[in-house]
């Protein structure tokens, strides 16, 4: 097992390198540079700025400079935010994304699995229809619609006597009040996905031969579900956990925009539109590492869920 983990971690290095290289080339080939703006800069100033960021060098040399800095843990200076290094920008945005994404994933996992089980065991009942309906809502109503609705209800319509909303409409100070609505929004979307997959997985498992055998033995339903059906039914759920977690933490662009959260999603969008090469690449490195980590965790969870899988 440990050698497997080590192998996977080591594989992350060439994977990250490939992703960085592709992004690097794509960014540099995109028309428009970091210093293109409404107001044209003096050629002497531009030359100094380009020299400062090695943009006056051939692309392959710039790439080597970048890799060298990266090897020393330095993601470079931001082109757009002159006062900040990419390391410090990422360090300030990551906790926000981790908090919102992590908590919403946990909630989604627990609630989604419970609802999925309930719906699967009561097929075509009222609870099944409710879960399926909620699942459809969560999957089909875009977050840029659902988010403002939550804000409208909890921040604008429902108010304290002093005139302020029950919950903030946006912003972030790390307090629970600021977390509730973004976490609710991300959770609703993820609950819908996990609930539907869980339901489908359990319905399929419950029709398997080994469950039929268990029923024939006269085992109670609770035992059948908890001891025999649950684990295999969770495998499809585990498969989507990786992508869901990555998108919840790193790509919650809409949620971060709707609630004005200072997270990674907002940084990467701003970075790309400003041609802030170093910022975008720094975030690519981070997202690649998170993706590798989550995929590894998912693979390990497989082994726990299905004894036939061994590494």
């Amino acid at each position: 097992m440990w050698s497997y983990i080590l192998r996977r971690v080591l594989w992350a290095i060439p994977t990250a390198l490939a992703v960085i290289t592709i992004c690097y080339v794509m960014l540099h080939l995109t028309p428009g540079g970091p210093f293109d703006s409404e107001r044209q800069i003096s050629p002497a100033v531009l030359a100094n700025l380009q020299a400062k960021y090695h943009l006056d060098q051939p692309m392959w040399k710039q790439y080597l400079y970048y890799l060298n800095d990266l090897a020393h843990g330095d993601l470079g200076a931001s082109f757009r935010y002159a006062d900040w290094s990419v390391n410090s920008l990422v360090a300030q945005a990551l906790p926000v994304s981790l908090t919102i994404g992590g908590i919403s994933m946990l909630i989604a996992l627990v609630v989604g699995v419970i609802l999925g089980i309930a719906a699967a065991l009561r097929q075509n009942s009222a609870i099944d229809y409710v879960v399926m309906f909620l699942g459809n809502i969560g999957n089909t109503v875009p977050s840029f619609v659902l988010g403002p609705v939550l804000i409208l209800i909890f921040a604008i319509w429902l108010k304290h006597p002093d005139g302020d909303g029950w919950l903030p409409a946006g912003g972030w100070d790390g307090g629970i009040r600021y977390m509730v609505l973004p976490i609710a929004l991300l959770s609703i979307i993820n609950v819908a996905t996990i609930g539907r997959i869980m339901r489908a997985g359990l319905v399929e498992t419950m029709t398997s031969n080994f469950i039929r055998t268990a029923r024939a033995k006269g085992l109670p339903l609770r035992t059948i579900v908890l001891r025999h059906a649950l684990k295999p039914a969770l495998i499809p759920v585990a498969s989507v956990l990786g992508p869901l977690a990555i998108s919840s933490i790193t790509a919650a662009v809409v949620t971060e925009t709707v609630f004005a959260l200072p997270g990674l999603g907002k940084l990467i969008v701003n970075g790309a539109s400003n041609r802030d090469y170093t910022l975008v690449l720094g975030l690519v490195v981070l997202i690649t590492l998170i993706a590798v980590l989550f995929n590894l965790l998912v693979d390990l969870v497989y082994a726990l869920l299905d004894p036939r899988i061994r590494y």
């Binding site: 428009g32 703006s37 030359a47 757009r80 403002p148 302020d164 701003n270």
Partner: protein, 538 residues
């Protein structure tokens, strides 16, 4: 030495000195709230808080609270004494500023004339990498220093003593006291920069001389400033804490305003002005802004070398419908790049604006026909390029519709992402392109750069030696009236040449809570300093 200008400058400086330079001017009878804290929406994250490096408006809002120049902007748009308690133009190319002796940095040290010299030399030094040197370029030798041809120490500024600053300018710049109100022109404490390097702008390390000090800065989240007890005029500063929220979505900002998290918004979402007016009444504030929205016609292309084509395209566009039905945020039609409120520049209009549209259309068709375009002649097809934005798209569609319906011209549209778009425009790789200009400072010269031959801001490639001659003449005029006349004539000629298609003057519409005192509707540059505000008990 011109007696008139010196007399005028002396009178102006004496007049200014007589002002009390109050910060928040709380009217008698107004009861102040116990908590004097203000939350301002700031549009986007500041690109920097270093006066030598920032170039965006959101950064300038914050920097103007943190740093004070020789003068400062009053809430009503007037120029008030800042670190300088008086100033005068001793000859057409020399300004002398007398600094107050009680001006201090946030660490308690005195602000001296040398701090200005250091700051300005640092900004124009190409090694600093400042992208915004336009304000400093009015100082003698600045352009050569920025271009790397002279050393920064050759900048035309010197401290004749600890509290006297002498500035030599290239042109006659009567608006110089307005320029030095910008945060970019503030003094810097060299020791603080040397000690902390790039991090000198961070909380706990920044040494500034404005009414506020930097307390907290979380990128993309908030910048928090607290009152600076060492500020020379601290006793009149009422707001004790101001938070700037860099929320990029105007919709989100509006919701935060509604839920009580913000005391004002930087903008309002487009297309809902009327409903916000109905909902918020007096809280919706609207001020004409020193900015113009216009379209470039690439004067290098054969079809636009013919003035008749340029004129025809401009005269059929109904700016009244555009501003009332399409933009609808309080903008006003424009027929000149000079707009209402421009100092030393009179906005002009065209005689055809009074004609019925049908007559304008007939004339425009004839102009096109005379130029060789139209039925039975060469076809004229147009392509409008704009950067991705819903409002720009709507305006481009409106323009295409006007040309199609009135002149029968086929127009295609191309939207580009902003960085690509600005390069396209600078390179002249377009036929018609959206453009806009918000003045950096209130003087006609800020707008004239848009039509001056070879100017870096002239992306339309219009060039007239007559216009340039008038601009050059105005730049050396010591008589204010003659200066205004030269600049106005220059712009009038450029507009008679149909250098561009002016569309409308911007209006700065924002929501401001009724309990925020001190807001005015006359600040055309939209430079509001927090020290001019107060929170009324509510």
């Amino acid at each position: 030495m011109n007696r008139k200008i010196i007399a005028a400058a002396l009178a102006a400086s004496l007049g200014l000195c007589s002002l009390t330079a109050l910060a928040a001017n709380v009217p008698a009878g107004v009861k102040l709230a116990d908590k004097q804290e203000l939350v301002r929406h700031n549009g986007t994250e500041p690109d920097s808080l270093d006066p030598s490096l920032y170039e965006t408006k959101p950064a300038n809002y914050i920097a103007s609270d943190l740093f004070e120049g020789l003068t400062r902007n009053g809430a009503d748009g007037s120029i008030l004494p800042g670190v300088a308690e008086s100033w005068k133009q001793t000859d057409p190319h020399t300004w002398v500023f007398k600094l107050r002796k009680d001006a201090k940095f946030s660490d308690g040290s005195t602000v001296t004339a040398d701090d200005f010299v250091y700051s300005w030399q640092r900004t124009v030094d190409p090694k600093t990498g400042s992208k915004y040197t336009i304000l400093h370029e009015f100082i003698a030798n600045a352009k050569d220093i920025v271009a790397g041809k002279k050393a920064p120490k050759e900048l035309g500024v010197k401290a004749t003593d600890k509290y006297t600053l002498e500035v030599k300018t290239t042109d006659v710049v009567p608006f110089f006291p307005g320029l030095v109100a910008m945060g970019n022109m503030a003094p810097l404490k060299k020791e603080a920069l040397d000690k902390n390097g790039k991090d000198w702008v961070k909380p706990g390390k920044m040494v500034s001389n404005g009414a506020y000090m930097l307390a907290e800065w979380v990128p993309n989240n908030r910048v928090v400033l607290v009152k600076n007890p060492n500020y020379w005029n601290a006793k009149t500063v009422v707001i004790t804490k101001v938070t700037y929220n860099p929320v990029e979505s105007d919709d989100t900002a509006l919701k935060m305003y509604k839920s009580g998290e913000m005391d004002w918004t930087d903008e309002i979402p487009t297309g809902i002005y009327a409903s916000l007016k109905q909902q918020f009444g007096g809280e919706l504030r609207n001020t004409p802004w020193l900015g113009v929205y216009y379209f470039n016609m690439n004067n290098n292309l054969p079809e636009f070398k013919d003035k008749r084509v340029r004129q025809a395209l401009s005269m059929v566009v109904d700016r009244d419908i555009l501003t009332q039905r399409v933009t609808g945020n309080g903008e006003t039609p424009a027929y000149s790049l000079f707009v209402k409120g421009t100092s030393a520049g009179t906005p002009t209009t065209y005689s055809w604006t009074k004609e019925p549209m049908a007559q304008r259309v007939t004339e425009a068709k004839k102009l096109l026909s005379d130029a060789g375009y139209g039925p039975g002649k060469k076809p004229l097809t147009l392509k409008i390029t704009y950067n991705t934005n819903e409002m720009h798209k709507k305006i481009a569609l409106f323009l295409a519709s006007e040309w199609k319906n009135k002149l029968g011209l086929q127009t295609s549209m191309e939207n580009q992402e902003f960085k690509v778009f600005v390069k396209t425009r600078h390179d002249g790789a377009y036929q018609l392109a959206r453009n806009a200009w918000i003045a950096d400072y209130n003087d006609a010269t800020s707008f004239l750069d848009l039509v001056r031959c070879g100017s870096a801001q002239n992306d339309t490639f219009y060039c007239s030696k007559t216009v340039d001659g008038l601009i050059a003449d105005g730049n050396q005029q010591t008589d204010a009236g003659k200066r205004t006349a030269a600049f106005s004539k220059a712009m009038e000629l450029a507009m008679e040449d149909y250098a561009v298609i002016p569309m409308f003057q911007y209006a700065k519409a924002r929501l401001v809570k009724s309990y925020v005192g001190g807001y005015t509707n006359t600040n055309f540059l939209d430079d509001y300093l927090t020290q001019d505000f107060y929170i009324i008990k509510h």
